[in-house]
């Protein structure tokens, strides 16, 4: 068979989601953002919500999420994305509204906005990228930084006597009456990516069916912040992050 004969639409088994544009991503090699962006694009496309979705982009590495997904976006102040999403969803109830936030954004400066939006049962989805570090500002300690883990602001490792304990936001969210679906996923392997996509799909469907608020945590790597190769970062995540942030559904109201 010639190349021309092979490359035909009917032979296509995989393609880039149409909602992903051709901009070269600014994320570091090994970063999880690109994969999660793709999953969101695929789910929106599969749900046929291309013209009815509004994303809220965060402060931090993913502030430019709007450069990669061809949907309407609002960029929110640090931590305030759930408040921004609350209003858009209430004012446009038939729209799919989601926030995309990192751990510094969601678990630190935006704790109040996150907990209250989830607890009000806003029909939104919060995608929570947890890489246990402040990526964009250069690898400082986050609320999610593991005990003993080094960062530029805890260079000798997180010491609970000085810095307190890592915050498990997803566990907190699962306890809130307003949440419909709370899950923790990852994207370091093909099976993990498939599960994460299913979780995002369920969360988005809940948002549209008025079931309440949804939180999808994705435990992620930050090769640059962790000062590791992408391969090492994935391994380190499995060995150190997963025991403290165990994967799986924490709440599913069905």
């Amino acid at each position: 068979m010639t190349k021309e004969e092979i490359i035909k639409p009917e032979n296509l088994v995989y393609k880039k989601p149409t909602l992903m544009n051709d901009n070269a991503m600014h994320y570091c090699p090994g970063c999880s953002h690109g994969v999660v962006h793709k999953l969101i694009a695929e789910v929106i496309e599969e749900m046929g919500m291309e013209d009815k979705t509004v994303g809220i982009s965060p402060v931090g590495c993913a502030v430019f999420a709007y450069n990669y997904l061809d949907i309407d976006w609002q960029e929110a102040a640090h931590g305030r994305a759930p408040a921004v999403a609350t209003a858009i969803k209430r004012l446009w109830p038939d729209r799919l509204v989601f926030t995309y936030q990192g751990d510094g954004d969601l678990a630190c400066i935006g704790t109040a906005e996150t907990i209250h939006a989830l607890n009000r049962g806003e029909n939104i989805t919060i995608i929570f990228i947890n890489n246990a570090i402040y990526g964009m500002t250069g690898g400082q300690m986050a609320p999610t930084t593991l005990v003993g883990m080094k960062s530029s602001t805890c260079p000798y490792g997180r010491d609970v006597k000085i810095h307190g304990y890592p915050l498990k936001m997803t566990e907190i969210a699962a306890q809130l009456e307003g949440t419909a679906y709370v899950t923790r996923q990852s994207v370091q392997s093909v099976p993990a990516i498939r599960k994460a996509k299913k979780a995002i799909r369920k969360a988005f469907e809940n948002s549209m069916n008025g079931k309440g608020s949804n939180l999808v945590e994705i435990v992620s790597t930050c090769s640059s912040g962790w000062k590791m190769t992408p391969e090492k970062a994935n391994k380190w995540m499995e060995e150190h992050m997963f025991p403290f942030y165990p994967l799986g559904d924490l709440k599913d109201k069905e």
């Binding site: 502030v63 609002q74 305030r80 209003a87 209430r90």
Partner: protein, 360 residues
């Protein structure tokens, strides 16, 4: 709801006017002396009549960011608060100004700094007209002096906000928020339909309709050259607003030898002081800025050649006086009279201050 005449508080008038002008959403947090805005909305349940969304947020910070979200999606949204609450909102206000979105903010001022007092004040003048949040931006600032104006400025604020895609603020004080007066409420206006919003706000994040590029609401621009262009665009817009939207009121200024310059409740007290002074043979007029920004600089400057002096009366330690002095540019004497900490002066205190500082 047809036009009707009622007796109500300034804060209640804000709520009534918001519903009647067809607002889509109110997001707020209770704080004295403006809690009646949210309370009145909760009592009137506009979500059952006009479909207006009313939500008590978890904080002022959340409330203003809800306004940011709603405004970005093309809806007519507002918030209200009082001084310490408005300080918390400054982050969001800067973002809204930076993203060039229309919205209405109401500040019913109380005494400060800090937790201060719940009594009336005008000490947030600087915060309102000189910045407040970070960056070079301006708010269209309307200063009502009556419950009627509390009503009328809601629709006017929204109109100007949408005309220029810029946040507008009603800067009232506790007196205007709490006092009861006769007020003519406007007839109910229909909220804009989805089709109207899509047509009027093609920039809004309403979901990317087929065939158009994604709408992105942001105030971020990492390239300094591009950020400078953004800022130059903002400044050009501000100059246009300064040209077109200055509003002020003049009473007895034609033959005046002295002017009282005051806004909000102090203009009402100043009017009585003017009457008392005229009874004593002192020719006093009063000029009341209605827009604090854009400031009636030209009008005030024009009186520098006609009157002997100006007394700026404010419920603060002297804030608007700086803008009056800039307008007059040293040509005549401009002095300040103010009471602090939530004390509202009697008209005769103003007459005394006029005699002692300007006429003497």
């Amino acid at each position: 709801m047809a036009e009707e005449v009622v007796l109500m508080k300034g804060n209640e008038a804000i709520a009534q006017a918001a519903i009647r002008c067809g607002a889509d959403g109110y997001f707020g947090y209770p704080i004295t002396p403006q809690s009646e805005v949210l309370e009145t909305l909760a009592e009137l349940k506009p979500w059952e009549t006009t479909g207006m969304v009313v939500l008590q947020a978890e904080s002022e910070v959340a409330a203003i960011n809800m306004v940011y979200g709603g405004a970005g999606s093309g809806k007519m949204v507002m918030t209200s608060s009082s001084s310490p609450g408005v300080s918390l909102k400054q982050e969001g206000i800067s973002y809204i100004a930076g993203a060039e979105l229309p919205c209405l903010i109401v500040n019913v001022m109380r005494g400060g700094p800090g937790l201060g007092t719940i009594q009336p004040s005008q000490a947030d003048y600087f915060q309102t007209v000189k910045g407040g949040g970070h960056g070079d931006y301006k708010l269209i600032a309307l200063a009502p002096a009556s419950v009627q104006e509390m009503t009328d400025f809601v629709a006017l604020g929204f109109e100007l906000a949408f005309k220029y895609r810029n946040p507008a603020i009603i800067l009232a004080d506790g007196v205007i928020g709490q006092m009861m007066e006769k007020v003519v409420l406007p007839a109910q206006k229909a909220r804009r339909t989805e089709a109207e919003i899509l047509e009027q706000c093609p920039w809004a994040t309403t979901g990317k309709a087929k065939g158009r590029k994604p709408n992105i609401i942001t105030s971020l621009e990492l390239k300094p050259e591009a950020m400078e262009i953004n800022n130059l665009r903002f400044q050009a817009k501000y100059r246009k607003i300064e040209e077109n939207e200055v509003r002020f009121e003049e009473i007895n200024c034609e033959d005046a030898e002295y002017l009282i310059i005051a806004f909000g409740s102090m203009a009402r007290i100043g009017q009585k002081a003017m009457e008392l002074a005229r009874e004593q043979g002192i020719k006093v007029g009063i000029l009341r800025p209605i827009t604090l920004w854009p400031f009636p600089t030209k009008a005030i400057a024009s009186y520098a050649d006609k009157v002997k002096g100006m007394l700026v009366t404010e419920l603060n330690a002297g804030q608007m006086i700086e803008d009056v002095r800039l307008a007059v540019n040293g040509k005549i004497k401009v002095e300040h009279f103010g009471r602090l900490g939530g004390i509202v002066p009697d008209p005769d205190e103003i007459v005394t201050a006029l005699k002692e500082t300007i006429i003497k």
